[in-house]
Amino acid sequence: MSYIRKPRIIHRGLARNDLGLTVRDYEGGMSTLCAGCGHDSVTGALVQAAFELSIPPHQMAKLSGIGCSSKTPAYFLQQSHGFNSVHGRMPSVATGANAVNGDLYYVGVSGDGDTLSIGLGQFMHAVRRNVNMLYLIENNGVYGLTKGQFSASADVGSRAKKGEENIQPPIDPCQTVIAQGGSFVARSFSGDKEQLVPLIKAGLAHRGFALIDIISPCVTFNDHEGSTKSYQFTRDHYHPAIHADYVPPSEEILAEYEEGAAMPVILHDGSTIVLRKADAAYDPTNRAKSLAMLQESQASAEIMTGVLYIDESKPEMHEVYQTTDDPLLDIDYGRLCPGSDKLAALQERFR
């Protein structure tokens, strides 16, 4: 961490978005993470994406559990809503919040420990309900906050800082979510903002549960030789399989794309993501093919990145439950809480 706050000086050439804000208006408090932590870089990408989308900061809610990764919502969008929940319990808090106010952008930030160990059950149910949120796993293969124990995402054979080898097979969140029927699954790397920023934008625009599993190296406990989640290893085994260009609703698609390799997907809010595929034959809307591709790449220790699977047709939680579109907060109190007479009448029906 640093001891002085990042000073508030605005570069005169700094761009302004539709709201007249600069990227600096989307920053948060001073990071207390280790210098060089991948999580800080993901924070930077989130700041950039929210700025580019001109999201009014008060229209976003940031939720997290426990871990170095889960601390990061304090470091972006200072003026947004936030909830730092118990370890692994963020998905249910997000589900609840979304149930009462579906109008906000929900960003859940979690770690591989928070999501794949203690929080796996909660996580799967948020996927199952297709809660309309962006869910980021800042995946470093360790429990950073508790000093570097292997997490459930550590690869077999990956070595800890002191040399011991991981022998448990990893849980791959992408495969798990695709298998469970998730509607948007992507993988990226904290060290590649060019890929990550458009993915975050697409994830925010996607209707339903959008997972981005972000390899985000822990410089302190998992960035050594022998680790499969280090900066070096990730760069050596990194395959940008499907690049996503995010095109906002108001803009035309201007870039020219090669036949077959490019696939536009129109998102619910009218924006488009153009998927540029390294392999033209790959179809990221086909669940079985996606899973197969991921399993193959896992076997050959390749890290496939980009939008791995997408299904824009799947209804999200509110649609499934047919709950009201209006945030409860906007509903007249009399309607929201009809009073004890109405309750008594209702209870009468069940007697």
Binding site: S2, K6, H11, A15, A35, D40, S41, S190, G191
Partner: protein, 627 residues
């Protein structure tokens, strides 16, 4: 782009905008930090090493450093660099035992200095400690040149001037007052080992228009008039005064007139305000004293009534100015009369060398100005050097001082029988400023404090005497605030690309978005592709070598970096990338430790220079500053 060659001392030096802009390369951030620590003696000595006259310059320097100051790119106003120099001088204790002295054993060389202005004095300051004997000829009965005769005492008090001049004279200068040099030929016959001409630009420009000589008692040449005022030969002026010209001399003339009894002083400018030669602060000070500046009036004639000056007529001018601020067309739209009891001409100065015979091998060009080498200051006659206003026409004190330093180097080389062109290159020394995990040896936090305003003596009081100093100098509280405004531009962030893991931490933390990791490309493209476009072409891009993991490059736009060091603090790769730069500007006292010959012989020119820089040792600091 190619990786930036940071082994070339000019690169980092240029980033220290103020020091780069200062003709004598005063270590501004260095002395500002010393002031911040309350080390006024050290701050004064550090100044004196470069600019020789800190107390004088802390009041009247032309301050080219301030318009260059980085702070004025980050917000409106630069650091009050000049006023902080005065803070060091005002608050210092007794430093007499730290001043350079003449060695007991002289080196047997005699140098003649013509004129006792700042240029000659600074030459003496540099050469006496090396054992030279200096004979200084001065036409007037006091030393100091224009600093005494023309810069009014209400800007530069006489005791301040005397004290700093005496620091030099007390080392033992053979000063010959009231001794104008009337023949260069005769002087050369005295067989000095070298001659330094520091006689200034003593001729005030005249205005040859009708009526000029019809009432000579009431039409004055600015610099001569100021000199007469300074020496007490003139102590009054008429009620209505017109000053012709709008440079700094004009500002001194109008303000002096007010102190001699003038009630209505107008400064007559030929062009609009954007074309004024006077510094903004001099204009502000004059206008604060209710001097009226009349623009677009071109002098036409002096009007004489009954043999006495009644005023002047002017052509009323109109100008067309294009977008770039250049005049494209000029018209006269009429004529106007301004009454006046006295007129002071302040339209410029020229060099004049009636006492230099033209057959001595000292060449003069077609404007009758001596031909002088810009670097060595040598004239076309070996052993005769020119500096200060005498060299290239009127400039200012700090340029005169720099000329003196360079001339002293040349004189020393000349006397040693060395080639004056074979000069030491500038050097540099980078020292880590990291003291601990989050501790730096400088105050790295950005302070949003706005520039402090120097308090002035009130208007009623200041006119009572001619020599009441108008500026009071910063209070202790103001100085303490002002030092924190300095961004420490000499703290350099040095890339250690082979260690970089491209984690982006530095990129994300940079408050002014001036760092980027990106694909390399041409400068033009890179400038547009950075996190914030690098539009100020005067400021360089610092480009790293290829980064090990992705072969991209790290690029820093030097324009707006506020030297907070956060990028270094956030970098996980160990020793940190923030270093303090000490620019080593050679003077005649600088020694170079020889680069091992054999090693250099096998190297190309580029590598040889790097090697030489590595081996350079500068001893001058300890000697001249005593710390």
């Amino acid at each position: 782009m190619k990786p930036t060659d940071t082994a070339n001392p000019d690169y980092f030096h240029q980033v220290v905008d103020c020091q780069w802009a200062c003709p004598a390369h005063t270590d501004v951030p260095g002395y500002i930090r010393l002031i911040a620590q309350g080390r006024f003696d050290d701050a004064y000595m550090l100044n004196r090493k470069s600019n020789v006259f800190p107390a004088i310059l802390g009041r009247v320097c032309d301050r080219p450093c301030e318009p260059a100051c980085r702070r004025s790119r980050v917000e409106d106003k630069p650091v009050a660099i000049c006023r902080l120099k005065r803070v060091a001088a005002d608050n210092r204790g007794d430093i007499m035992d730290r001043l350079p002295t003449a060695p007991a054993k002289k080196n047997g060389k005699r140098v003649a200095c013509i004129g006792a202005g700042c240029a000659s004095l600074a030459v003496a300051n540099d050469l006496i400690p090396l054992g030279y004997e200096i004979v200084m000829y001065e036409a007037l009965d006091k030393p100091g040149g224009l600093m005494r005769t023309n810069i009014p005492a209400f800007r530069l008090p006489v005791d301040v001037l005397d004290e700093e001049i005496n620091m030099i004279l007390d080392m033992g200068v053979d000063l010959r007052l009231n001794t104008p040099v009337e023949s260069m030929a005769a002087l050369l016959e005295e067989n000095y080992d070298a001659v330094f001409v520091g006689s200034g630009a003593p001729k005030g420009k005249n205005l040859e228009i009708p009526g000029r000589y019809d009432d000579e008692d009431h039409v004055h040449i600015g610099i001569n008039w100021l000199e007469s005022v300074a020496f007490g030969h003139i102590d009054s002026i008429g009620e209505k005064v017109l000053i012709i010209g709008v440079g700094n001399t004009a500002m001194d003339c109008c303000r002096t007139s007010l102190r001699l009894g003038a009630k209505d002083v107008k400064v007559m400018a030929r062009k609009p305000r954007d074309f004024f030669k006077a510094s903004d602060w001099e204009l502000e000070d004059a206008e604060e004293e209710n001097v009226e500046i009349v623009v677009n009036r071109q002098p036409k004639a002096f009007v004489i009534e009954n043999g006495k000056l009644a005023g002047m007529t002017f052509d009323v001018m109109e100008y067309d100015v294009d977008k770039k601020g250049r005049i494209t067309d000029t018209r006269m739209t009429g004529e106007e009369f301004f009454p006046a009891d006295d007129v002071v001409l302040a339209i410029g100065q020229e060099n004049a060398f009636p006492w230099v015979e033209r057959d001595l091998g000292i060449e003069f060009d077609k404007w009758d100005v001596p031909v002088v080498d810009r670097t060595t200051h040598e004239s076309t006659r070996k052993g005769v050097f020119f500096g200060g206003d005498a060299a290239f026409g009127p400039e200012n004190i700090i340029w005169a001082v720099e000329h003196a330093h360079q001339s002293a180097i040349s004189i020393h080389k000349h006397c040693l029988g060395e080639d004056v062109n074979n000069r030491l290159p500038d050097g540099m020394n980078l020292v880590s400023t990291k003291m601990g995990m989050h501790e730096w040896s400088y105050s790295n936090d950005y302070d949003p404090q706005e520039r402090n305003i120097v308090p002035h003596v009130d208007l009623a009081t200041r006119f009572r005497e001619l020599d009441i100093e108008v500026e009071l100098g910063f209070s202790a509280e103001q100085a303490a605030e002002e030092v924190e405004r300095c961004l420490n531009c000499d703290i350099q962030t040095v890339f250690t690309e082979k260690l970089c893991i491209e984690c982006d931490a530095c990129i994300d933390i940079c408050p002014v978005n001036c760092l980027t990791i990106t694909q390399n490309g041409s400068e033009e493209h890179l400038r547009m592709r950075l996190n914030a476009p690098a539009e100020n072409l005067e400021q360089g891009l610092y480009v790293s070598a290829e980064l090990p993991q992705t072969a991209r490059v790290m690029v820093k736009d030097e324009d707006l970096c506020v030297h907070c060091g956060l990028c270094a603090e956030r970098c996980p790769t160990g020793p940190g990338i923030c270093r303090n730069l000490a620019c080593c500007i050679p003077t005649c006292l600088t020694r170079q430790s020889p680069t091992p010959r054999r090693k250099c012989a096998s190297l190309g020119p580029e590598q040889r220079r790097k090697e030489q820089n590595k081996h350079r040792r500068v001893q001058v600091d300890r000697f001249l500053t005593g710390f």
